[in-house]
Structure formats: C-alpha cells, structure tokens
C-alpha cells in the first residue's frame, strides 16, 4: 500500500509517542506496582458482616501501626456506614494526620456505588459481591469530600462523607 513520505514520518512520530506513553504507564504498573485497584476477592452481598473487615465493631478508622491506618466501611443506598462513635452516633468524618498511610476497604450491601475521596487518587467502583481496596499516602492536608460517583438511585447525591487530613 502506498504511503506518502510525510505520512510515514507522521505515523512513525505518532506511533513512537504512543509507545513511549505505554512504556511509562507499563513501568509505573509493573515496576512501581501502581495498578488501579483490583482485588478479585469475593463476598456475599447479602451477608457482608460475615467478613472480618465488615463486622459492625470493625467499621471505621483504626490505627494499625504507627502512622498506618485502616478504614473499613459499607456502602449502601444512600449511605456510607463507618460505624458509630462513642456516643452511638453515625461517623461521617474520618481524621488522619498528614503523611499517614491509609488502607480503604469498601463493599456494598445492595447496588453498585462509587467511592472517591475527591481531589485524590482514591477512586474505586464498589460492586456487590466484591471487596474494593486501595492503600494510599495522604500527602496533602485539607478537607476532602467523599462522594459516591456511580449512580446508585434517586438519593445518589446525598451519599457522602468527609476525610480530614490534619497537619
């Protein structure tokens, strides 16, 4: 097939750029280990409490080591369940110090939800039957709104929480 000379140059340039992009992405994925979340761990959506992480007493924020935290929560239409505080009130705000490592573990009891800590890379689909899990370092201080970013029904926009990273 005949290709114009300039077209060849253009395609070589374009193809090479794509190859470089892919190498960068591949390097980050396979050498640095920064894949998007995928855990392939299943759970019974009608009985999520049977899983250790999602027992009522294990929900919410926990410090597991110095500067290392786990946040367990259950999404459902239209609420994020982080457990309750000492007064028995539902937790809607998580506070962690700047620079801490936080592991988020989320599942859903009903439909598909999203879990995004807006303004960060913490962004997961939460699907019935699966556990979504992502560990990250909270590098920036501030108040971050957690939003459900996958449509889950008519109360979708009322589903949120706050992650506060303090200095």
């Amino acid at each position: 097939m005949h290709l114009h000379k300039y077209e060849k140059i253009w395609l070589i340039f374009g193809g090479a750029s794509l190859a470089i992009f892919l190498l960068v992405i591949g390097f980050a994925a396979f050498w640095k280990g920064t894949h998007p979340q995928s855990h392939i761990e299943t759970i019974d959506p009608q009985n999520v409490e049977e899983h250790e992480a999602f027992k009522p007493e294990n929900l919410g924020l926990r410090e597991v080591a110095d500067g290392k935290y786990t946040v367990n929560l259950i999404a459902s239409a239209f609420n994020y369940d982080f457990g309750t505080d000492a007064d028995g009130k539902a937790v809607k705000r998580i506070r962690v110090p700047k620079g801490s490592t936080v592991l988020f573990q989320v599942t859903t009891k009903d439909v598909v939800h999203g879990f995004q800590v807006a303004g960060t890379n913490v962004n997961m689909m939460v699907e019935p039957g699966h556990v979504s899990r992502l560990e990250t370092v909270m590098k920036n201080a501030g108040e971050f709104t957690v939003v459900c970013n996958e449509y889950c029904g008519v109360g979708h926009h009322q589903m949120f929480a706050v992650v506060e990273v303090y200095e």
Partner: protein, 551 residues
C-alpha cells in the same frame, strides 16, 4: 475508474427521510432534557411537577446517546449505500422493517422511562432493576438495527455479484465495516439483555452476575462510540473532499484506517472498568495497550484529511506553509460544521488517552471530566459532522435547496454550538479535575470549600447549556425549512472521487474473511481468560433492587 452513482426514487427518499425525522425529534427532546439538567444542577432552579432529576438524565442519555445517533447513522448509511451500490425494492421493504422495529423499541423504552419505571440511566447497571418493558424496548432497538446491518451486507453482496472484479465503492466499504463492528459489538449487550436482564427483571432468575453484565455492557459500550464516530470519518474522508472541490486523498489509506478501527475498537472495553474490583490488573493493562492502537487510525485520518485540504488549497494557487488554509470554503456550512468538529477532536482525543491510561484514570474516573470528554467528542465532533451532512442530505432527499440564507443560518448555528459547547465542556473538564462527580443531582454535600468550587462550574455549565439549547432550536428550525419549506431545486449529493492517476487499492483490503477473522481472534484473546475468571470466581449473585430508583 469511474463508479456509477444511483439516483434516489421518491420511495427511497421517503425511507431515508423517516430516519431523519426521528433524529431531529430526538435532538429536540434530548436537548431540552439536557437544558433542564444543567439548570437543576446549578442549584438555582427546581424541576417542576416533582420530576426527578434522574428521570430526565435517563431520557437525555437514552434519547441522544442511543436513539438520535443510531437513527441518524442508519439513515445516513442507507443513503450512502443507496447512492453507491443501490437498493432493491425488497431490500427497501426490509429497511422499513428495521425502521419500525427500532421505532417501536424506542417508544416502549421512552414511555417506561417517562412514567418513572426506569430511572437507571442509559448504562442500566444491575442490580438496579427497571421495568421489563425498558429492557424489551432496548432489545427491539438492537434487533431493528441488526435488520439494517444485514440489509447493508446484502446490498454490497448484490453489487459485487453484478460488478465482478471491481473494488467496492469506498463509502459502501466503510458502511459495511461500521455495521460489522456494530453487529459484533452489540452481541455483547444483546446477550446481557436477553440472557441476564430480561429473565431476572421478570422474576424467572433470582439473581444476576453484576460484574459479568457490566463486562458485556462495556464490550459493547466502547465500540458504540466508534459506531458514532465512523460515519463522521466517512464524511471527512469521502464527502468533504468533494464539497471543497478536491479529490480523495488515498482510497487504500481510508480503507486501511477503517480496518484498523474494526480490529481495535472492540477488545478494549476494560478501559471503562479500570477501577473495578474483580478484574485482574494485567488483563486491564492488556486492554489499555489495545486501546492505544485505536489512536493510530485516528492519526492516519488527521493526516489525510488535512492532506486533502492542503492539496486543494495548493491547486488553487496558494503557496507557503499555511497559505492554502485561507482558501478553504469557510462560508459553506457543509464544510465549516464538520471542520470545527475535527478541531474539537484534537482535545477530545487527547482527553480520551488520559481516560484510558491505566492508573491515570483514577483521578478522573466517574468525575464530570468524563462527561466533558464525550461532549467534546460525541456532542461536538460527531454531531457537528452529522449536522454538516444534514445540510445537503435533507434538501437532496426532499428535492429542495440549501439557500444562501439557510446556509448563513447554519453558520450562525455552528458558531452558537461551538461557543456553548466550549463553555460547558471546559467547565466540566475543570470541575472533574477538582473531583466533582458526574451523574449527580445538585448537592452541596454539607458545604466545604471543595464543594463550593464545583458549584461555580455547575453554574457555568448552565450558561453553556442555555447557549446550546438556542443552537438546538435553530437547528430544528433549519431542518424544518430544509424538509418542508425551502425552494424546490436540486441539491448535490457530494461523493468524492479518486485522482485519475491514483495508486491501485490492494485487493487484500477487501478480504472480509481475513479482517473479521482477526477481529474475532483479538476479541477472544482479550476476553476469554478474564471472562472465564469472572464466571469461575463469581460471588453469590445479586437480587434485584427496585426502591433505589423510586419504583
């Protein structure tokens, strides 16, 4: 080699026009829903009569994303086939059956949505359960489109029999590629709807495999956007050169680009599922690599389209690196509208590369950035090209003329569209980078600085949306003029020809067994193991949920 063009009979024109009526009716309804959405989300306006935001969001997505595009594409492609290879009386009757089946499905789904029984958006993710009539309606739209697929295949086959040893007309070849892709891709969503959703929504199956349904949906969902784009490419490659008075840049290059799009548009659905649990990251990465391959035919297209422009400009005697640019017919809306569409595809495509980039996706996934992205690609690139085609196709079919006055109105319409979309889409992109979610009603999430920045951009989207709606009203006015009131006359059906001394097209480009075979092999490679994984490691299925969507 000169190919013979067929002229349309009255009966034939009526068929193609009926698709156009549905297209523009859908544009009006869907556009109005879009306007209401941007208003509601600005927080300054409440929807009247207790209408739910998600009902209009579903109508907007289904009616513009699935109905308007599909009707335009199938009508336009029938016209292209009719022009280049002809249509027999029998084929025309089948084409009508395709039309009525699709229309019946559309009406069924639309009513179900409007009465509030299907607030599930156009992705209808399980386990949200709409009324079964919604799924039956979607199935009918797909089945109707399949009838069109096989009519088109038959048209080319009959022509080939009558013209042995001749290469098929370029436009007929392109239509066939697009329909082959559509058919192979829609098998996924059809399987999901027929085998998973319908039995489950009727209560015959207790549970549904959510991840499998999503995977089948996105197996179809990405080729779907190429199904929208390819008719625009057809127009750019094979119609625009004629409008500017030039010739085809290269017949074989155009065919090659379409073949690459067929090969690489389907095995890439995982890039819509990058942040999902339950799919192995290595397979996600493989589909990311395959996704990047689709960029190559788009680069080829960009080169050859601008090549055509330059060749034409230089023939008219313009010198210098960009002097030829001035000589393009900027005051011809049939050129201007698709041209702006092409320009919009540069940032649109670049944003797409970001979306598909494995980890980078995490910052923008399901934010309104994505909405901004497809309002650039589909709602600007594709739709402006469709509009550009309608300016000559509609009067050609109705035996009228695009008058200078209507042409001028068209240019005003194109500019309004561009301004409105620039404002709306830019605001969406920025808000998305700041974390603002897509597909959400107005909410201040109990305040906070972060949320306040989002709301500012939502107000900007309402401004853009208003300008766009003015553009829609104007487009509908122009359509009605072209269909019923413009002066009688002859409007050209522009089909570009090859240069007399063009290089011959390699025969292998028309080897359907080869290309469809490779397509299937690539799909099997990209999907077999992950799908077996999904089925083998599937969690207990999901029971249906009606109440979250207000049923």
């Amino acid at each position: 080699m000169m190919l013979k063009n067929y002229n349309f009979s009255k009966k034939e024109s009526r068929l193609y026009m009926s698709f156009m009526y549905v297209t523009f009716a859908a544009l009006l309804i869907g556009g109005l829903m879009g306007l209401l959405q941007t208003f509601a989300r600005s927080g300054q306006f409440q929807l009247p009569f207790g209408i739910n935001y998600y009902t209009i969001l579903t109508v907007h997505g289904v009616i513009l994303g699935l109905v308007m595009t599909t009707f335009f594409i199938i009508g336009f492609q029938f016209a292209l086939m009719g022009k280049t290879v002809g249509i027999s009386d029998k084929q025309r009757k089948w084409a009508w059956l395709a039309f009525w089946t699709m229309l019946a499905g559309t009406i069924m789904a639309a009513i179900t949505i409007l009465v509030g029984q299907a607030n599930v958006l156009y992705t209808f993710y399980a386990p949200l359960r709409a009324h079964p009539a919604f799924y039956f309606g979607l199935a009918l739209v797909i089945v109707g489109s399949w009838i069109a697929v096989f009519v088109n295949f038959r048209q080319l086959y009959v022509w080939k029999k009558a013209n042995p040893n001749q290469k098929s007309p370029l436009l007929a070849f392109m239509v066939t590629i697009n329909m082959a892709m559509w058919f192979i891709a829609s098998l996924g969503v059809a399987t999901s709807v027929l085998v998973q959703f319908i039995p489950w929504s009727l209560g015959y199956a207790a549970t549904i495999n959510v991840l499998l349904s999503r995977t089948l949906f996105w197996y179809f969902g990405h080729p779907l956007v190429y199904f929208w784009l390819l008719p625009a490419y057809m127009a750019w490659y094979a119609i625009l050169p004629k409008i500017i008075g030039g010739k085809l840049f290269s017949d074989s290059l155009a065919r090659m680009a379409f073949i690459l799009l067929l090969l690489f548009s389907i095995p890439v659905g995982f890039h819509h599922q990058l942040t999902e649990p339950g799919i192995d990251p290595t397979w996600k990465f493989i589909q990311v690599v395959l996704t990047f391959m689709v960029i190559i035919p788009s680069l080829m297209t960009a080169f050859s389209i601008f090549g055509t422009f330059e060749v034409r400009g230089r023939k008219l005697g313009h010198k210098g690196l960009f002097g030829w640019f001035r000589n393009l017919p900027w005051n011809d809306v049939r050129f201007l509208a698709p041209f702006i569409g092409m320009v919009a595809f540069i940032p649109g495509g670049a944003g797409g590369i970001v979306n598909a980039s494995h980890q980078m996706n995490a910052l923008v996934h399901n934010t309104i950035w994505v909405t901004g992205h497809f309002h650039l690609t589909v709602a600007t690139t594709v739709i402006l090209t469709y509009f550009g085609m309608a300016y000559w196709l509609v009067p050609h079919l109705t035996g009228r003329r695009l008058t200078p006055k209507l042409n001028k109105l068209g240019i005003v319409q194109t500019i309004i569209w561009t301004v409105g979309m620039t404002i709306m889409s830019t605001a969406m992109h920025i808000q998305g980078l700041l974390g603002g979610p897509r597909r959400s009603d107005f909410s201040n999430y109990m305040g906070g600085e972060q949320v306040n920045t989002w709301i500012t951009y939502q107000v900007a989207q309402a401004v853009g949306g208003t300008i766009l709606f003015i553009g829609i009203i104007l487009m509908i006015y122009i359509f009605i003029q072209l269909a019923f009131f413009a002066p009688k006359g002859v409007q050209e059906f522009p089909v570009a020809e090859e240069e007399i001394d063009a290089e011959p097209t390699p025969k292998i480009l028309e080897n359907w067994y080869l290309w469809i075979g490779i397509t299937i092999a690539l799909i099997l490679f990209a999907y077999t193991i992950p799908v077996i994984d999904i089925i083998k490691h599937s969690p207990p299925g999901s029971i249906p949920f009606d109440w979250p969507i207000g049923r």
